[in-house]
């Protein structure tokens, strides 16, 4: 049986309070908050974070990787290869970008369900809009990753597919020229009418093919960038039953094509510990409607999701609107008067791919000394080329000492920087992220996160930073 072997979402820690928009401009904004990618995050790094969570604790022998986003970090160059490298996957596995529209994520998921190899589908989006627009306030940034494959005893499925259907229609509802930050939309009622018709038809067809009745569906995920249409479709398919999965738009916004997989992750996580047998319909509205039908298995009873979305919704940091505007390059703020770093060398980056992308150090076979970055010569004993690779990306550490650099070049100064000792050995001086200077303290516990240090000559410099682990107090306060 083919199904979902694992699934996770990733929501950046930053939240923009929509009230701040109208406070500044006198219009726009609204109630609630939206999620905002850090200045050092793009769809590739968010995708890596979701994928790491989805793969945590799993030993996947061979898999394909599909990456879907409407806001890619690169065009022409494949983005999925950076995810593949950051996950430390072997060269023999394929990694492909899968389209660039709001329909790509659900399409990649459907494609993976219908294909042969084990496939990790990763979706990430970073939704922009002009200041005061409903897209700015209503959009959100997030990633989701779902591992799809044949259920086995070693990798049981959390949910299996029951069927699905698509309805495809070429009509103009929302469009954006590549590179532009602003989406445009036709008169809303037109899109709403089309989506309700398309979703109704596809949903009925999917149920019929799976010989299911509407009443047999226990949970319905409805997502789409046309928010009115999504609401209308949800109301129509639910038929008054309390089966709609909360859409999270109040707290994080609508995250484009990623939203379907993110809500599916949220739905499945909420079912962790249940006996199984819950039937779920995922309906995504984008230039048609795609329906996927799933049913949880008994494996979900013993599933402990890694950093579930419910926890990520609690672990947040308010982001001032001014920072939001500067991070989105809607306003240009004065940079530190320091020289900008040079562009990354393609050849040097390629040679250190395992270190740079997967944070793999080296460990001296005779003394066990860990070297970060990897070294050919051991600093203890001096053995040469007697090292084994040691993956450290998932190892936590402790802040030994730290500093706040208010002068050094950074896309968002100041830079918090710490000397980190890793559990089980190894030390590395590393930049901290997702925190304020006041939160950093000696003895603080950190974990690693894949980020973009800066961009020069349009080359993104991807590497790892450390972020503070949420303390027990933080969790309970929120």
């Amino acid at each position: 049986m083919r199904g979902i072997l694992s699934i996770s979402g990733y929501i950046p820690i930053h939240r923009l309070d929509r009230k701040e928009v109208s406070a500044l401009f006198g219009s726009g904004g609204g109630k609630g908050t939206r999620s905002v990618a850090g200045h050092d995050e793009d769809t590739t790094t968010m995708g890596v974070e979701a994928a790491r969570l989805a793969l945590r604790g799993l030993d996947v022998e061979h898999m394909a990787l599909l990456f879907a986003t409407a806001t890619p970090a690169y065009a022409d160059k494949t983005n999925a290869t950076a995810l593949h490298a950051a996950l430390g996957r072997p060269m023999s596995e394929p990694a492909w970008d899968f389209g660039g529209s709001a329909r790509s994520a659900i399409g990649a998921f459907g494609f993976a369900l219908a294909s042969l190899p084990t496939t990790l589908v990763v979706a990430a989006d970073r939704r922009d809009g002009l200041a005061t627009s409903s897209d700015e306030a209503g959009g959100g940034d997030a990633a989701a990753a779902v591992l799809v494959g044949e259920a086995t005893t070693s990798h049981p499925a959390l949910a299996i597919q029951l069927g699905g259907a698509s309805a495809t229609d070429e009509f103009l509802d929302r469009w954006r020229v590549p590179g532009d930050r602003r989406s445009k939309q036709w008169e809303e009622k037109f899109g709403e009418q089309r989506y309700v018709a398309l979703a109704t038809e596809a949903f009925a067809r999917a149920l019929s093919q799976a010989t299911l009745t509407p009443a047999s569906i226990d949970r319905i995920v409805v997502t789409g960038m046309h928010t009115r249409a999504a609401k209308a479709v949800g109301a129509k398919l639910a038929q008054g039953r309390d089966v709609l999965v909360p859409d999270l738009t109040e707290s994080i916004g609508q995250t484009g094509g990623t939203h379907s997989l993110l809500l599916l992750a949220s739905c499945l996580e909420s079912l962790a510990g249940t006996p199984g047998g819950t039937k779920i319909a995922v309906v995504n509205l984008a230039d048609g409607a795609d329906v996927v039908l799933l049913e949880t298995t008994s494996s979900i009873a013993n599933w402990t999701p890694a950093n579930p979305i419910a926890s990520q919704l609690k672990n947040t940091r308010p982001l001032p609107y001014g920072k939001f505007l500067s991070w989105r390059q809607m306003v240009t703020v004065e940079p530190p008067r320091r020289p900008e770093p040079g562009r990354v060398s393609a050849t040097a980056a390629w040679r250190s791919e395992e270190w740079k992308f997967a944070f793999v150090g080296s460990k001296d076979r005779s003394t066990g000394t860990i070297h970060l970055p990897p070294s050919r010569v051991s600093r203890v004993g001096g053995a040469v080329d007697e090292m084994d690779p040691v993956p450290m990306a998932d190892v936590q550490g402790t802040i030994v000492t730290f500093t706040i650099d208010r002068m050094v070049y950074s896309p968002s100064p100041p830079v918090a920087f710490a000397i980190v000792d890793f559990d089980g050995g190894g030390r590395f001086p590393i930049e901290l992220t997702d925190c304020t200077a006041e939160q950093v303290a000696i003895g603080g516990q950190v974990e690693l996160t894949f980020r973009k240090l800066f961009t020069q000559d349009d080359i993104h410099d991807y590497f790892w930073k450390a972020r503070l682990l949420p303390s027990v107090d933080d969790e309970s306060e929120n």
């Binding site: 320091r338 020289p339 990354v344 040097a348 270190w355 030994v400 500093t403 650099d405 030390r427 001086p429």
Partner: protein, 396 residues
């Protein structure tokens, strides 16, 4: 295998040093010519006597031509050296070894840096093409990690630590105010220092060395020839150098309260010079006070105070101009300024003045011995190069 040193084999017989300042009206070549001309004026050596040259500059130019062109040297061996902020000391070390080897009779070491043409404050090194994984912080940020670590280890409370660091800045400004070549010639108060804006960690503006343009030079000859060229030579007792492996950055046992490279270079220098009690055997020391906590830790690395006690001695004034062991009587990097390639030779220039009794009366120290030390470092805590020399006016 051993570090033998060249004790009493080579002598410095001429020195010069430009004012260190934001020399908007002088280029690299002007600074070189000024320092070299002053050096000739200080000695009986003339240009034709100099057999070989070493130029120390971090970013001033590549190759020996950077020196040969402005000085119009013809047919001479000229080598450019670079070793971070110890570059000036490296030029001297190379020139001294060349003379000691017998390869040349007379050699000149020149250190120069034209920092203020970059358009940026502070020192800015351009990294070679790389994989983008080495996060470069400012030097201030890297050194700012020392003070809290030191305070924690030795139980010094925040307020006392703040007093200690301010006392170092106040002392060096006091000395620099008595030095016509220094970049900053104004005394400051501890309150001013403590109230200055924080740049990195707990370090404020007044905890940081000045950044200036400047040049300095020295002429070295064999010790037996020294009195031909000057009546008051400085004999080289020790030249020691340690390049760290960078282990401190990745070694969990490193605690940021000391600089092993500096202690290592000092131990080698003391062995070369036959010094067993540096605190009593030295008349003074010039040390690399790039930031106030650096000078504090160096007092212990160089053996001037036992571990964990230097902070008390700083407060007691032990290292003041007329203290037990004057440190940085010329104002140090803090107020003299820090043209990277020149600073090592600038330190030696102060020894040249003080040991010969030629410092201006307002900052001439009482000479309790005939020996002085210079200490020069480059890099950051955990990944550092360090130089230590000992010179003296007497042959042992």
């Amino acid at each position: 295998m051993a570090s033998h040193g060249i004790k009493d084999q080579v002598a410095i017989v001429g020195m010069g040093c430009t004012p260190f300042a934001e020399h908007w009206n002088k280029g690299l070549d002007d600074l070189i010519v000024d320092a070299v001309e002053e050096t000739y004026a200080s000695t009986r050596v003339v240009k034709a006597d100099v057999d070989a040259y070493w130029l120390g500059t971090v970013q001033g130019g590549m190759s020996g031509i950077t020196l040969a062109r402005p000085l119009q040297l013809e047919g001479k061996p000229v080598t450019r050296v670079e070793n971070y902020c110890t570059t000036g000391s490296e030029a001297l070390r190379a020139a001294a070894y060349a003379v000691a080897s017998g390869a040349y009779d007379v050699a000149m070491a020149v250190g120069v840096e034209k920092v203020k043409d970059s358009g940026f404050q502070g020192l800015n090194a351009q990294a070679p093409p790389n994989d983008g994984t080495a996060r470069t912080l400012t030097a201030a940020a890297m050194f700012s990690m020392v003070a809290p670590a030191y305070a924690r280890k030795y139980g010094v409370d925040d307020e006392t630590m703040s007093d200690v660091l301010a006392a170092i800045a106040v002392k060096n400004h006091f000395n620099g105010a008595r030095n016509s070549r220094a970049q900053f010639r104004r005394e400051i108060t501890a309150e001013t220092c403590k109230a200055s804006p924080r740049l990195a960690g707990g370090l404020g503006v007044y905890d940081c060395a000045g950044v200036a343009d400047g040049a300095a030079a020295a002429i070295v000859v064999r010790a037996e020839d020294a009195y031909k060229y000057t009546d008051k030579p400085l004999f080289i007792k020790a030249l020691a150098f340690t390049a760290g492996s960078g282990a401190g950055l990745v070694d969990p046992s490193y605690d940021y309260t000391h600089f092993p490279e500096c202690a290592s270079a000092a131990n080698d220098a003391y062995a070369q010079a036959g010094i067993t009690s540096p605190r009593t055997e030295l008349a003074m020391a010039e040390v690399h006070d790039c930031f106030t906590p650096t000078e504090l830790v160096l007092m212990e690395d160089l053996g001037f105070a036992p571990r964990g006690t230097a902070w008390r001695e700083v407060l007691d004034g032990s290292f003041a101009l007329h203290g037990d062991l004057p440190i940085n009587p010329d104002g140090g990097l803090k107020s003299f300024g820090h043209p990277t390639g020149a600073s090592g030779l600038r330190m030696m220039f102060e020894c040249w003045l003080q040991l010969r009794g030629e410092a201006p009366p307002e900052r001439q120290i009482a000479l309790k011995s005939s020996k002085a030390l210079t200490h020069n470092l480059g890099g950051y805590p955990g990944e550092m190069v360090s130089f230590v020399s000992v010179v003296g006016t007497e042959l042992d």
